[in-house]
Symmetry: C2
Subunit: 386 residues, 2 copies
């Protein structure tokens, strides 16, 4: 059965001091329903992706919270897959439609991080590492990504400038996105001269701490025909995993989970890399975008840096990557990110992205990562004649 | 498509000081695979239900942890629905099979609670309440269930002795279950004279703090035919929700989510209450068993207490309830409970329960509650001729 997106919602990503988690969930869900031309009473099921609602906000049962803020009581649940919570929530929502258990599923990602201190957020985020071998030893997520960056530099001869080009590109894109948190163009020198967070990564290699939510309304293609909206098909939905502990991996410069999920996704969508017009990848740290592009198969190992320098992945390049600004500039409310990536791709395929629009985009892909490449969700979206 | 259980696993429930979360997950999953006659390489997907892994253990990505302990890397994810995490995980696993995305799904519930202090556990559990209107005001889960118990007493004229009969029955059942945490028979006087936790509930009206895990191997009925095992069909899988905040409800003496899920489950399984031979309900607090039996429709409102006193719900009564000992005596590692209930029903239908076997059980039901009746998962299982 073919599953389609019929509505999208996306709050501003920022430090939203005057918004609660409930406010954010309401806003994104409400906007998605309006976009689909549906009422709250049309919703059959709600799935929410979020990572830190328990560790930072002390709130469980987020599915019920998402239902309550809409004033309805529908079957609902919450998925935690760290920073891939949003992407995995979409994966679960697709199954609900395919299983024939629901006509309309509202799937959201949400995170409210800025109410906590930086120390509390840093502590909450390392829950995505291995508690026994990493967190107990004092590792942080930026620290573990710095290990990955060093391995990548060692293997491919990449430089800090290579990483900086990713940040500069994504900030240039985010400058054009009204929903982005950091709408500020950067120079290579600014990235290189920024304070070091975890060597070799500077503050401007890292995505920010953000609040935000994003939502999709999913239904079957048959059901969508009854609605007077232009739908976008989800032609592939794949999740793959790797070991939680980095110590168990034989290579740090590649994320096997991306490779596995990508192989299955291209087969499921029955397309090749040449068919893809636009992609959103998980650039939580600048090096991660280069790795994503290589692990997805768009560039050979070690070659994504030069392509980035050459503008291939820029908005007007051959393969626009992260036109939204990516996690780096758009912001990274962790559980929201996977759904927000999907919202961007759907809007690109619908031609609704104004200044950052990729011309004639027909097929797009999202790659959403939880932990240090520990779980990866990949979705492929396609605009079809209707 | 018909979904069946082909293997079950269940650790001892107890304060397991020498077992980690990883140990418990490994043991339950391994036992379920052995029971199904399958290898780790046969597993297509893993889903884990757990509530407090982030708040107490600081570990996210539990799906990947569950995969890693088996030495495999398969698509996996983690569902948090508070104390209903296990039941909701089964619900999601059923969709994976029905959607045709996986042949073999390993679904587990797990919780490791005893490493934390009682204060930490009490604090982690109130995450299942409403953070804004309940937790911030100092409410605890036992405190909120005491409100519910008072409302039930007020409406139906029920007494503390009525509640005590539930605990006495379930301890008598748990005494016969080698996997139960509290294998000790109780008297009514012992329950009434125990220290008050939250008036009117005493320590012996409350389920204990526990460690444990339970697993099921699910597949389609077609796939099961290839295996040389006796499968049990899942003929209904329903989840329903209510408001998170108790202040938004018009009646505290009933859980609407149980009623909604039950109505749909009986319709889905195409059976009546008379067809049910054995049930496991969510007696996190003694009053909750009485409410469950009434909300499920087995007794009229206010009548479950007399039925319990009359022995109707005892092992050798007309409708055996919680033959495992229930949450009260078997233990309540919160995320594991929903899956553990299913394990008990499957074993009852397979005639593997020895001293606590319900004779000739053919159809059984589980009711798993998250929060204060905030989300409820109901499953119906049936032994079919093979």
């Amino acid at each position: 059965m073919s599953v389609v997106v019929v509505g999208v919602g996306h709050t501003k990503f920022d430090e939203l001091w005057d918004k609660s988690l409930q406010d954010l969930l309401f806003q994104a869900q409400h906007e998605a329903l309006i976009d689909a031309g549906l009422c709250t009473t049309d919703v059959d099921k709600i799935i929410v992706g979020s990572m830190s609602s328990q560790s930072l906000l002390r709130q469980s049962l987020l599915g019920c919270v998402a239902s309550e803020v809409l004033g309805i009581s529908v079957p609902s649940y919450h998925i935690d897959a760290a920073c891939a919570s949003g992407g995995v929530a979409i994966h679960a929502a697709v199954a609900e439609i395919q299983a024939g258990r629901a006509d309309v599923v509202l799937v959201s990602g949400v995170e409210k991080m800025s109410d906590a201190s930086v120390e509390q957020v840093t502590s909450a985020m390392i829950n995505a590492g291995d508690i026994e071998t990493e967190a107990f030893c004092g590792a942080t997520i930026p620290g573990l990504f710095a290990l990955v960056a060093r391995a990548y530099m060692h293997l491919h001869g990449a430089t800090r400038e290579d990483f900086a080009h990713v940040s500069v590109k994504n900030h240039a894109h985010g400058f054009l996105n009204p929903l982005a948190q950091l709408r500020k163009k950067l120079s290579i020198q600014q990235v290189l001269n920024a304070p070091v967070v975890a060597d070799p990564l500077t503050l401007l290699d890292c995505s920010p701490i953000s609040d935000g939510a994003a939502s999709l309304v999913l239904c079957s293609s048959d059901f969508a025909k009854k609605l007077n909206v232009k739908s976008i098909a989800i032609t592939a939905s794949q999740v793959a995993t790797d070991t939680v502990s980095l110590a168990l991996r034989d290579d740090l410069a590649t994320f096997k989970a991306t490779k596995k999920a990508a192989t299955k996704a291209f087969a499921q969508a029955k397309i090749t890399h040449q068919d893809i017009d636009v992609i959103e990848v998980h650039d939580a740290f600048s090096v991660a975008e280069l790795m994503a592009l290589e692990d997805l198969g768009f560039f050979k190992p070690g070659c994504a840096a030069q392509a980035t320098r050459d503008g291939v992945t820029s908005l007007h390049g051959k393969l626009p990557v992260n036109p939204s600004g990516g996690l780096k500039a758009k912001g990274h409310p962790v559980g929201a990110t996977g759904v927000a990536q999907a919202v961007e791709i759907v809007k690109q395929l619908q031609g609704r992205c104004e200044q950052r629009q990729v011309p004639n985009a027909r097929i797009g892909l999202t790659q959403n990562v939880g932990g240090i490449g520990t779980t990866v969700a990949i979705h492929i979206f396609e605009k079809r004649e209707q």
